[in-house]
C-alpha cells in the first residue's frame, strides 16, 4: 500500500492494517456515517434508495466475481444463476419451512457456494474461454431445474416472506437499504481481506500461471474450487438479499445477459481491485439508470421522436461506456491509483 511519507510500519499489526493513518480513519468513519445518515437527506427518494439497493446487491455479487475472475483468473458467465440459487434458497426456506432470514441468508451463500463448486469442477481441467462455457451451462441448467422441478415453485416463482426483527419487518426500501448496506460492508471487508490473505495470494499465483503455482506447492484442486466457492458464496448472499428486496423469486429475474454485464462491470472497474468492482458496478448501473430516467426527455430532440428514444438512449449509454473503455482500458480503479499517487507527490511528477 502506498502511504504518506513519515508513516512507519514498526509492528506487524500496523503493517497489516487496512486503515493505517489517522486521516484514513477519519475518512472511513465519515464515510460510514454518511452511508448511514444518507436516507435522511431531503433529496433522497424511495426511487433513489431502490436504485442504490439494486446497485449494492449487484456490487456484492461483483465483489465475489472479482475474487473469482480478477484474482483467481477463472471466468464465470453464470454468476446470475448462482445468485438465483441464493435467492431461491432464501425464498424456499422462508416460504415453505418458515426459516428466519437470518439463518437462511448464510444458507443461501452456502448453497450457492456448493452449487458453484459443482459447476466450477471443470475448472480443474478447463481454462479461459472454455471455462466460460461450463459456467454458461450452469446458467441454463440451474434455471431449467427451478422452472421444471415442482418443489422449486415452477415457472411462476416463489413468494418470499420478508425478513423480520421481532415484529419489525424489513420490507420497505429504507429498511432494506440498511440491511443491504450492513451486509455489503461486511462482504467488502471480507473481500478485501480474502484478497490480501494467503488464499488471495494463492489465487493470484494461479491466475498468473497455474502450472507455476502448482510447482510452488499451491494445491490447484483446493484453491480453484475455493475460488468458485467464495465467488458463488458472494453471489448467493446477493441473491438472498435480492429475494428479500423483491419479495418474489422467479427464474426470469436472472437472465444470461445480466451475467454477462456483471463481467463487464469488473472489467470497466478494473480486474483485481476490490475498489474496481465497486466503481464498475456503480458506474455501469448508474449510467444505465440515468439514461433510462432521462430517456423520455430525449424525445424532444429532433429525429429522436416517438418511441425511438429508448433505443437512442441505450445507444447513448453504450457511447458513454465506450468512451470510458477507450480512455481507461485498464479500469477506473487503475486511474484512481494513478490519481492518488500523483496527488500525493503533487509538485513533483515522480
Amino acid at each position: 500500500m502506498q502511504l504518506p511519507s513519515g508513516t512507519i510500519n514498526d509492528s506487524y499489526e500496523k503493517d497489516m492494517a487496512i486503515i493505517r493513518t489517522r486521516w484514513q480513519w477519519v475518512m472511513f468513519i465519515g464515510f460510514v456515517v454518511l452511508i448511514f445518515v444518507f436516507p435522511a437527506f431531503p433529496f433522497v427518494s424511495n426511487y433513489l434508495l431502490r436504485i442504490i439497493n439494486n446497485i449494492v446487491i449487484a456490487m456484492i455479487l461483483v465483489l465475489g466475481l472479482n475474487i473469482l475472475m480478477g484474482y483467481a483468473g477463472q471466468v464465470s458467465l453464470g454468476q446470475g444463476a448462482f445468485m438465483a440459487v441464493g435467492a431461491y434458497t432464501v425464498a424456499l426456506l422462508g416460504h415453505k419451512l418458515g426459516v428466519p432470514f437470518w439463518l437462511s441468508l448464510p444458507a443461501a451463500g452456502l448453497s450457492a457456494g456448493i452449487v458453484g463448486v459443482i459447476f466450477g469442477a471443470p475448472s480443474l481441467r478447463v481454462k479461459g474461454v472454455y471455462l466460460a462455457l461450463a459456467t454458461i451451462a450452469a446458467q441454463f441448467i440451474i434455471l431449467w431445474i427451478v422452472r421444471h422441478v415442482h418443489a422449486f415453485g415452477g415457472v411462476s416463482g416463489v413468494p418470499n416472506p420478508p425478513a423480520a426483527i421481532g415484529t419489525f419487518t424489513i420490507n420497505s426500501q429504507l429498511s432494506n437499504y440498511y440491511l443491504i448496506i450492513v451486509v455489503a460492508i461486511i462482504m467488502t471487508f471480507a473481500a478485501k481481506n480474502i484478497a490480501r490473505s494467503k488464499i488471495g495470494r494463492a489465487f493470484v499465483a494461479i491466475r498468473d500461471n497455474d502450472l507455476a503455482a502448482e510447482v510452488m506447492g499451491i494445491s490447484l484442486f483446493r484453491y480453484k474450487l475455493l475460488a468458485f466457492f467464495i465467488g458463488c458464496f458472494f453471489a448467493g448472499i446477493a441473491g438472498g438479499l435480492w429475494a428479500n428486496l423483491i419479495g418474489h423469486v422467479q427464474d426470469e429475474q436472472f437472465p444470461l445477459i445480466n451475467s454477462i454485464w456483471y463481467t463487464g462491470m469488473i472489467m470497466v472497474g478494473g480486474q483485481g481491485y476490490t475498489l474496481g468492482a465497486i466503481i464498475g458496478t456503480f458506474l455501469l448501473l448508474g449510467v444505465q439508470e440515468i439514461v433510462v430516467l432521462y430517456g423520455p426527455s430525449l424525445s424532444h430532440i429532433p429525429g429522436v421522436g416517438g418511441s425511438g428514444y429508448a433505443g437512442f438512449s441505450q445507444f447513448l449509454m453504450a457511447l458513454i461506456i465506450v468512451l470510458f473503455i477507450i480512455f481507461e482500458p485498464r479500469g477506473l480503479a487503475h486511474r484512481w491509483q494513478i490519481f492518488k499517487s500523483s496527488y500525493r507527490l503533487h509538485p513533483f511528477s515522480y
Binding site: V126, V129, Y130, G311, A318, P329
Partner: protein, 282 residues
C-alpha cells in the same frame, strides 16, 4: 438443420477470436444490422432483391471497418478484457441504434429461396434451411482456405498470437483488425439475410448471438472445422433432447440437454472439440 445456421454465425465469432483473441459477444447484432439494411434496400427503397443483398454486404463491410476504427483501434495493445467488455457494450449500443432507426417491429423481405420443402421419401427438408446450410458450408470452406493460404489470413493468425510480435515482423495490426471486423460483419450480414428471410427481420435476431456463442466455444474458439462440427452437433443434440429425452424426463429439455452433454465433453477434452491444445511452459 439449425446446425448449419449455428455454424455460419459461429464462424464470425471464431474468425474474430482467431485473429484478435477477442470473444465477440456482439456478433448477434451484426445479424440484426445486416437483416435491417437488406430490408431497407429491398422493401423500403424497392431495389432488386439480389442487388440489395449485394449492397447490404458492401454496407456491412463498411460498418465493420467503422466499428473497428472507432472502438477497437484505440485499444490495440490493451488487455483483452477491455476488448471483450467493448463487445458487450457494442451489443447494447448497436441494439439501441437499431431500435432507434428501425424500431422494434417485425418485417420481412421478399422470398428469394423457395419455401416448398423438398421431399425425399420420408425425409422432409426445408429448402430454406438447406440453402442456408449450403451457403454456410461454402463460406466456411472459403474461410478455411483463406486462413491457410492467403497472406492476409496468415497475418490474421499471426496477430492472434501476439500483437506486438506481429507488429515487429511487419504485419500491420491495425489493418488486420479492420479486415477481421469487416469480414465478421460480412458474415453477420449473410446470416442476417438468411435468418431474416426465415424468421422475419427484427432486432430479436440478436438473441442468436448468445446462443451461437456457446457453439463457438464448444467447437474450440480457434477452429473453423470445430465451429461446423459444434454447430451441427448442437443442432443434433437439441433434436435428440426433444426427440428422445423429453418424453422420459418432461418437456423443455432442448435448452439444457446439450449443455449437460457438453459439460461431460469438456471434462474429457478441455480445449473444446477441435481447439488448439496449448503447450504450457513455465
Amino acid at each position: 438443420m439449425n446446425g448449419g445456421v449455428y455454424a455460419l454465425i459461429a464462424l464470425g465469432i471464431v474468425l474474430i477470436y482467431k485473429s484478435t483473441r477477442v470473444l465477440n459477444i456482439a456478433q448477434g447484432q451484426f445479424l440484426v444490422v445486416g437483416a435491417w439494411i437488406a430490408f431497407t434496400f429491398s422493401s423500403k427503397i424497392g431495389l432488386n432483391i439480389w442487388l440489395s443483398f449485394f449492397l447490404t454486404l458492401v454496407a456491412a463491410i463498411i460498418i465493420g471497418f467503422l466499428i473497428e476504427r472507432f472502438t477497437f483501434r484505440p485499444l490495440i495493445g490493451q488487455p483483452i478484457s477491455a476488448l471483450i467488455t467493448m463487445t458487450i457494450v457494442l451489443m447494447a449500443g448497436i441494439e439501441g441504434l437499431v431500435l432507434w432507426i428501425w424500431g422494434g417491429w417485425v418485417e420481412t423481405f421478399p422470398d428469394f429461396i423457395p419455401r416448398e420443402p423438398i421431399r425425399m421419401g420420408n425425409i422432409v427438408l426445408s429448402q430454406q434451411l438447406l440453402w442456408m446450410f449450403i451457403i454456410a458450408m461454402v463460406f466456411i470452406g472459403g474461410f478455411a482456405l483463406f486462413f491457410k493460404y492467403t497472406r492476409t489470413g496468415l497475418a490474421m493468425r499471426a496477430t492472434a498470437e501476439d500483437h506486438q510480435v506481429a507488429q515487429s515482423v511487419g504485419i500491420s495490426v491495425k489493418t488486420v483488425f479492420g479486415q477481421t471486423w469487416a469480414i465478421a460483419a460480412l458474415i453477420g450480414a449473410i446470416g442476417g439475410i438468411i435468418l431474416g428471410s426465415l424468421y422475419g427481420v427484427s432486432y430479436q435476431l440478436g438473441e442468436w448471438g448468445l446462443k451461437v456463442l456457446t457453439v463457438a466455444i464448444i467447437g474450440g474458439l480457434d477452429s473453423i472445422p470445430g465451429a461446423i462440427v459444434a454447430g451441427l452437433m448442437l443442432g443434433l443434440l437439441e433434436k435428440v433432447a426433444t426427440g428422445y429425452v423429453d418424453p422420459i424426463i418432461g418437456g423443455g429439455l432442448e435448452a439444457v440437454f446439450p449443455f449437460v452433454i457438453l459439460l461431460i465433453v469438456l471434462m474429457i477434452k478441455p480445449y473444446g472439440l477441435f481447439g488448439l491444445k496449448e503447450i504450457e511452459r513455465i
